[in-house]
């Protein structure tokens, strides 16, 4: 088919708008001053909303992944193969301290966000540092728990139950580790580049991530430690 068969028409470049909200760039619909919802009324949403929304969706998918691990844990909980059970192994007091550390770190992360919004660099860095320390403390306790279990011949290769246990908890731990790396990167970025819009968006994503880890931890605490030691 060649162009002679074409029945063309006008371009839809109509409705001259003062400013093109369809820009990908940081002018136009810009950094958040646009009210567009992206639902077809005012055109594409602002960059801030798009980034936050996309990151939310990513977090949802991450939670689906955790759900698969939780399902595996629930199925394999009884598969102890004659080895130790959850009731014999878990030290709930240690887990409680971990939980407190993580929740406090989320609080510190919230303070960092407030400092960011108030453009107070020093407070931001301090709050992020505290977040880091609390998160690292959480990880240290978790590592101690792991080495302790391995030393008691209750490592992940002992039974399917322990494989699932180490995987669920370890996967959360890996997320925390990645979060800590990210956190340091963000501190460095704010230090080097100041409160640039793209940096602000990244910190926002980081804090979403960090709070989501809390939510996942609550599930770990309930499904793995509480229900797991009941079995």
């Amino acid at each position: 088919m060649s162009s002679s068969a074409a029945i063309p028409g006008g371009l839809p470049d109509v409705v001259p708008m003062r400013r093109d909200p369809n820009h990908l760039g940081h002018h136009a619909a810009g950094e958040g001053e646009s009210r567009a919802t992206g639902h077809g009324t005012g055109g594409p949403s602002s960059k801030r909303i798009v980034v936050a929304y996309g990151f939310w969706i990513f977090l949802l998918s991450d939670i689906v992944m955790f759900a698969a691990f939780f399902a595996a844990f629930a199925v394999l909980r009884g598969g102890t193969a004659g080895g130790p059970t959850g009731a014999e192994l878990f030290d709930i007091a240690n887990v409680a301290i971990e939980t407190v550390l993580l929740l406090l770190s989320s609080f510190a992360c919230g303070v960092a966000t407030l400092a960011l919004n108030a453009r107070r660099a020093l407070l931001f860095q301090a709050a992020m540092a505290v977040t880091f320390l609390l998160g690292a403390g959480f990880l240290a306790l978790e590592l101690r728990e792991f080495t302790d279990l391995v030393a008691r011949d209750a490592g992940p290769t002992r039974s399917a139950f322990l494989s699932a246990f180490f995987t669920v908890v370890g996967c959360h731990g890996l997320h925390v580790t990645a979060g800590l790396l990210w956190l340091l990167t963000m501190m460095a970025q704010v230090f080097a580049k100041g409160f640039r819009p793209d940096i602000l968006r990244r910190v926002m994503c980081f804090s979403l991530f960090w709070h989501a880890l809390d939510i996942v931890w609550v599930a770990v605490f309930t499904v793995v430690y509480l229900m797991g030691s009941a079995a």
């Binding site: 088919m1 060649s2 162009s3 002679s4 074409a6 029945i7 063309p8 028409g9 006008g10 371009l11 839809p12 470049d13 109509v14 409705v15 708008m17 400013r19 909200p21 369809n22 820009h23 990908l24 760039g25 940081h26 002018h27 567009a36 992206g38 639902h39 077809g40 009324t41 594409p44 949403s45 798009v50 929304y53 996309g54 969706i57 990513f58 949802l60 998918s61 991450d62 992944m65 698969a68 691990f69 399902a71 595996a72 199925v75 394999l76 598969g79 102890t80 193969a81 290769t157 039974s159 399917a160 494989s163 180490f166 995987t167 790396l181 990167t185 970025q189 580049k193 793209d198 990244r202």
Partner: protein, 669 residues
């Protein structure tokens, strides 16, 4: 130092893979040398490899899909010809090699043929149909593509270095555990799929965000073209299903690498857990592929019938219903593995319920054609053929969803015939329909219709010819994955199927010839208007190929079929709309991030397969450094000045005006 990797990993004693790989290697080197000598490497790097333009990335995805479909087809030729020679004989392939071939065939076709093809078309088309400049996260898009390419590369490397899985495309434990599969084959599978799966997930996030948050003003949900709807549903499924696959493969990886016991026979492991998790992803995956295909057929059938899509809203509802229902049927993949009568009954019924929204769609497509002025172009031929063959495949599917029938037909060639019947007619036909339909949009000239029609007819006849005999031998009791057999009644049918593959191969050759011929005749096939098919949605409103920024000024959508209404008004008034006020456009800068990430991902994957731990650590560090470097950039955009935008747009306006006046003169005469 090199882990498990030694010279013995290269199968010097097996001529077929080595000769094939050498051939491919020589061709690849030849192409690279040719490109280098012609001085095109900088162009490739600048305009394609580092491009973050959704159109370029879409084209690269489709190219990868095309090449891998052909690669998978070469496996199919091997399998069919082997079986034809394996009656009361051994055939020409050693058994362990045959096992690798059917595993590689399935893996490549699903993950690296069909998926990139569909994702590529969505990437290319969706932002254009939504009237926007790019996807939500352009650089991430490039990362997604290159990670997919990494996976494809790893699978193909397994041809020469080491081996591929012998477990089938779904690596069911305990067969895939170290005890029964001690080699690196399953590891190739795991890392290739894991890496490309991450790319797929990110592309899903990207497209969902684009569709939900970036539409042009006025483009409300019920004004979105059908393809955008099905793309949305498909990508929602990716987001909900791929993490399950990631987790499942991670568990198998832990079993194999660190001696965990998720799915092993001993220490409390549970292999049925794998079946459930795998198919909780696997069945939705079928619809991840099929939904965009339905969207393509909707666009093509509506355009070439010259009518709006019949019962658009019922299509939307059917799409969403399929999206939800696809998560409720996974168990039909293992009716025979002991879930029990009640459970089987429930899943049998839910499986059949999906036929209802699918039936709604079939009727909507037929009513769209009814009373329309149907033009039988190549894309339309693929679509009509789909309508006919897909109904057959669907009917055999409903048959398999009856648990007692499945007890007889499970793992037979009847099953193989069924899923090829649906997946080839839905996904592969849609792929070629979409390819021919949007090719002129991407490159500014149409594909040669005569070769396209030849490709269509040979493929269609060959495909029916191959798979009908497989239905028959399946009913006669022939199971899948047989290396040789000695049942006389099966033999003629197997020979017939092999002859059919030859016909299909002619179709594939026509497809390639079509591309070559069209490129050589591109001046005659040129389309200057940007709207060669008399299209109805916004992608036809811009020039072909579209400028990097897609639309000079953002479209304002005032009804369903966004472009059609504007075009009708232009025709009635015999003039284009007023020229807009042009403004400078900002676009994201190119970035090598995707390519560099994929380079490190390839290192990590290869190192993990061969247990070269230091290299894996190096690769991970490299990937992290890439991200930091990317995040550290200060300049991420460039500006296209308003007069450049104006100049580009005026060119297209001029040729459209020209064609408009020509059409009027013709009408008057």
């Amino acid at each position: 130092m090199l882990g498990k990797l030694t010279w013995s990993a290269i199968p010097f004693d097996q001529p077929i893979p080595l000769v094939a790989a050498a051939l491919v290697g020589v061709v690849l080197l030849g192409i690279i040398a040719w490109v280098a000598v012609a001085g095109w490497l900088p162009y490739l790097w600048r305009e394609w490899i580092t491009s973050v333009d959704h159109k370029r990335i879409g084209v690269m995805y489709v190219l990868l899909g095309l090449v891998m479909l052909i690669r998978g087809f070469s496996d199919a030729i091997l399998m069919r010809s082997h079986q034809a020679l394996a009656y009361n004989a051994l055939g020409y392939l050693p058994p362990e090699h045959y096992d690798q071939i059917f595993s590689a065939h399935g893996t490549i076709m699903i993950f690296f043929g069909a998926m990139p093809f569909m994702i590529g078309l969505m990437n290319f088309v969706v932002p254009l149909q939504l009237g926007v400049r790019d996807v939500a996260f352009p650089t991430l898009n490039s990362v997604s593509f290159w990670l997919t390419a990494t996976g494809a590369l790893l699978v193909n490397v397994s041809l020469v270095v080491g081996e591929f899985a012998r477990t089938g495309w779904w690596p069911a434990p305990p067969l895939s555990e170290t005890t029964y599969s001690p080699g690196v084959g399953v590891d190739y599978y795991l890392w290739a799929i894991q890496i490309s799966g991450i790319g797929t997930l990110m592309s899903g996030v990207n497209l969902v965000t684009t569709i939900l948050k970036m539409r042009a003003p006025g483009m409300s949900y019920l004004r979105m073209p059908m393809f955008c709807w099905t793309a949305l549903a498909s990508n929602l499924l990716i987001i909900a299903a791929f993490p399950i696959l990631t987790a499942t493969l991670a568990m198998l990886t832990l079993d194999r690498y660190l001696g965990f016991h998720f799915f092993t026979d001993e220490a409390g492991g549970n292999s049925m857990l794998f079946m459930n998790l795998f198919w909780a992803w696997g069945h939705p995956e079928v619809y991840i592929l099929a939904l965009p295909a339905y969207g393509i057929f909707s666009e093509v059938i509506s355009t070439f019938s010259g009518k709006p899509l019949f019962a658009y809203r019922s299509m939307v509802w059917a799409t969403l219903a399929i999206c939800l229902l696809s998560f409720t049927v996974w168990l039909h993949h293992f009716f025979t593995m002991g879930p029990g009568g009640d459970v089987n009954g429930v899943f049998g019924i839910t499986s059949m319920i999906i036929a209802v929204p699918t039936g709604v769609k079939i009727f909507d497509w037929m009513f769209t054609m009814y009373g329309g002025r149907v033009r039988f172009t190549t894309p339309m031929l693929w679509s009509v053929a789909f309508l006919v063959t897909f109904v057959v495949g669907g009917a055999t599917g409903v048959l398999l969803a009856i648990p007692p029938a499945d007890f007889v037909l499970h793992n037979s060639l009847f099953l193989v015939a069924h899923f090829h019947n649906v997946i080839v007619s839905a996904v592969v036909f849609a792929a070629f329909a979409g390819y021919a339909y949007w090719f002129p949009k991407a490159f500014g000239f149409t594909l040669d219709e005569r070769w396209g029609k030849a490709a269509f007819w040979f493929s269609l006849v060959g495909y029916v010819w191959v798979f009908t005999p497989l239905y028959v031998v399946g009913l006669m009791g022939m199971t899948r994955r047989m290396q040789h057999f000695s049942v006389a009644e099966w033999y003629p049918w197997i020979v017939a199927a092999s002859l059919g593959v030859i016909v299909m191969a002619v179709g594939v050759v026509c497809q390639v010839v079509q591309l070559v011929v069209s490129i050589r005749r591109r001046e005659q096939l040129r389309d200057l208007t940007g709207d060669p098919w008399d299209g109805r949605s916004l992608e036809w409103a811009t020039a072909s190929p579209p400028p990097s920024f897609n639309f000079a000024v953002m479209p304002h959508v005032e009804g369903e079929e966004a472009y059609w209404a504007i075009k009708q008004r232009a025709r009635e008034q015999a003039r284009l709309r007023e020229e807009p006020d042009y403004e400078p456009v900002e676009m994201p800068l190119n970035s090598p991030t995707g390519f560099v990430c994929a380079f490190f991902a390839t290192l990590v994957g290869f190192a993990m397969i061969w247990h070269i731990w230091w290299l894996a650590a190096l690769g991970l560090a490299g990937a992290f450094a890439t991200f930091v470097a990317f995040a550290w950039r200060d300049r991420v955009e460039y500006e296209i000045p308003a007069d450049a935008v104006a100049r580009i747009n005026r060119e297209n306006r001029a040729s459209r005006l020209d064609a408009l006046q020509q059409a009027r003169r013709k009408e008057a005469a």
